[in-house]
């Protein structure tokens, strides 16, 4: 897609309004920040509705606008499989981690892992994993804001990255978690409004009778679509392990992504943590199904009306459709919504990176530093991290969605597994977790370096036994189906072979589950670890089967 030759004034005005309101919210929210707990976890005072809305904007990054529709056009089924898994994964997060993490009273994932297993070494390792995951996730989003500015507003990409990055850095630094939370709530409302309404207008123009409810409102267009593009709904026939890898990456990745987990440390209690997740999954599903409708509308528009949209412009198809079928006013709204989507995710990531560096890293190296000094350092750290990320984002990984999928895989193996096992199996100890998280995250990270960064063919990477099975479309996703199971197996086996953790560490498990007394038999059976090992082995073995059945 060629960039606009002129500045799109209305879109620019609405985007600037979104940016300005974001800064104003943070300035307003600053009054609530009095100590380190206020700065990092909003004084643990956030209610379920506020937290649920904030989680939605955190979840719906810029990929919702500029990555998912492109994926749908190129292959509906895999796109829906990825996002269906991502949506339901919030319930996995709810069932396995959310309320328990809230009861633990840590500030961050890294603090949780360190305190649950009684090891500062694990704190340092998890900070490193967090930084890798966050940078991968963040750079793509900031780059996306630059792309939106460039293609849609006629403003150079660098200006978009720098302005967007500075605004986020400013409001995160100023407002801390209070500012981030209220901003994310505001951005969710903007995003819902700016996506749902333009898409409804697009569907109405294309003749959908149910246009008022885009997620399920285009059923009557399906017959013409299947006549014109008969394979549109055909399932992508790849080895089922691809879908199992997507499941593992989504369900355990979301638990491992520290910026999601951090939201649960901000709520009032475990009940609020639970219900905020239910609200979040409902709204995330609503938006995702609306984007499926957008992708459908795009293919329908191209195939039934003979409009040619070049492949290079698939990323911007939401905007192309809205401009062509709804008009410039709606386009301006969609642009503002996409800017809000990008900002909210970047803000959450900056917050966790700043907290990780000061609270988890510096705080562990210099434990005698008082909270007041840490608070002052946090302001500085947030600013420095923001500027560094802006610089990195000037030349980030190209394909945003792919980089984020790798981030999910690394987070699942490196952080998701230790969190889940730490909550549900008392016998898990620091040795098992160290083995699982180091090996699991390294498998995913090194594979990303070779495949995602260096561009090697997945079947040719030096990965004994399994490399030949990373074949076919999206074959690289299967790496997650190795990294996560190995992380689980090592965590369980090494924990079993080494001394059990002390009672004070095991007691945390009962406390996280809400028990006022301690019982060594609770969450200490053999059923869970054996099931985990068996399922992990089965997933890895399954990958080696059915070799001749699927396209290479």
């Amino acid at each position: 897609m060629e960039p606009r030759g002129e500045v799109f004034v209305l879109g620019l005005i609405l985007s600037i309004i979104v940016l300005l309101i974001s800064v104003l919210i943070s300035v307003w929210a600053r009054r609530f920040t009095r100590n380190l707990g206020d700065y990092y976890v909003a004084g643990r005072s956030i209610g379920a509705i506020n937290n649920g809305l904030a989680m939605v904007s955190l979840a719906l990054s810029l990929t919702t606008f500029i990555g998912l529709t492109a994926l749908i056009i190129e292959g509906l089924y895999i796109a829906v499989a990825v996002y269906a898994s991502f949506t339901a994964a919030f319930i996995g997060l709810l069932l396995l981690a959310a309320p328990y993490l809230r009861r633990h009273k840590s500030f961050t994932t890294m603090a949780f892992i360190s305190e649950r297993y009684g090891s500062n070494t694990l704190r340092y390792i998890s900070v490193v994993v967090m930084m890798i995951v966050s940078v991968l996730y963040l750079a793509g989003n900031l780059k996306g804001i630059g792309i939106v500015f460039y293609f849609l507003l006629g403003v150079p990409e660098v200006v978009g990255i720098v302005v967007g990055g500075l605004v986020v850095t400013l409001y995160v630094t100023l407002g801390g978690m209070y500012g981030v939370t209220y901003n994310q709530t505001f951005q969710t409302i903007v995003l819902l409004f700016c996506l749902m309404f333009p898409v409804a207008i697009v569907l109405r123009t294309l003749g959908a009778s149910g246009w008022a409810f885009p997620p399920l409102g285009y059923g009557d267009m399906v017959p013409l679509m299947t006549q014109t593009v008969p394979h549109y709904f055909w399932a992508m026939v790849v080895h089922p392990v691809v879908y199992i890898a997507i499941f593992l990456g989504s369900f355990f990745g979301i638990i491992g992504l520290p910026h999601f987990v951090m939201r649960f440390f901000t709520v009032r209690d475990a009940k609020e943590a639970r219900w905020s997740t239910v609200l979040c999954v409902f709204l995330v599903g609503l938006v995702n199904t609306t984007v499926y409708a957008t992708g459908f509308a795009a293919v329908y528009y191209m195939q039934t009306q003979g409009v040619d949209i070049p492949t290079a412009a698939y990323d911007y198809v939401v905007f192309i459709l809205v401009e062509a079928l709804a008009g410039e006013g709606w386009l301006a709204l969609a642009v503002a919504g996409s800017v809000a989507a990008g900002l909210s995710t970047v803000a959450g990531l900056l917050m966790i990176m700043g907290a990780g560096l000061i609270h988890d890293l510096y705080g562990a190296i210099k434990p005698d530093v008082d909270d007041e000094k840490k608070l002052k350092l946090s302001y500085g750290a947030m600013l420095v991290v923001g500027v560094l990320v802006i610089l990195f984002s000037l030349n980030p990984p190209e394909f945003i969605l792919e980089a984020i999928m790798w981030a999910f895989g690394i987070a699942a193996a490196g952080l998701g597994v230790p969190i889940v096992m730490g909550i549900w199996w008392k016998r898990t100890n620091k040795y098992g977790v160290a083995a699982g998280m180091i090996v699991g995250s390294l498998i995913a990270f090194v594979s990303w370096i070779m495949i995602g960064y260096m561009g090697m063919d997945p079947v040719e990477i030096p990965f004994p036994i399994f490399a030949k099975y990373f074949y076919g479309p999206l074959g690289w996703i299967k790496v997650t189906a190795i990294a996560v199971p190995i992380s689980f197996i090592l965590t369980v086996v090494v924990s079993w072979l080494t001394p059990a953790p002390g009672e004070e560490l095991q007691r945390q498990v009962d406390e996280m589950h809400g028990w006022s007394d301690y019982d060594p038999k609770r969450y200490n059976g053999k059923g869970l670890p054996i099931t985990v090992i068996v399922l992990s082995v089965v997933v890895m073995w399954f990958m080696t089967t059915l070799y001749d059945m699927f396209p290479k």
Partner: protein, 104 residues
């Protein structure tokens, strides 16, 4: 462990396990189930010989489902969205009650 405590513990573990299995199927494994059991969802199933050269071609027509959508697509989006939300809400209600009992 008192009998009430044991009952509460078992309730928490089993309800969580069952909800997780259901949501793993509706949100995670259902997409692979469609691929494995594709004859249930599509009118013509490709042979392995057809699959490679005609990958994703027009001979594979989805069966009609609900509200005009193909059956597998409808269930995929509804189960992973409304289904997952309902499972989460049910689990929350059970855990709210358990939490009340724990406090007594």
């Amino acid at each position: 462990m008192s009998s009430d405590s044991k009952k509460g513990y078992k309730l928490e573990v089993w309800v969580t396990a069952i909800c997780f299995i259901i949501v793993a199927i509706t949100g995670g494994f259902f997409s692979s189930i469609v691929v494995i059991m594709n004859e249930r969802f599509f009118n013509q199933v490709p042979t392995p010989e057809q699959l490679v050269p005609f990958y994703g071609e027009s001979m594979f027509v989805a069966k009609e489902g609900f509200l005009g959508f193909p059956m597998h697509y409808f269930w995929l989006i509804v189960l992973s969205w409304i289904g997952a939300t309902l499972i989460g809400a049910i689990w929350c209600v059970v855990m709210d009650r358990l939490e009340q009992q724990q406090r007594l």
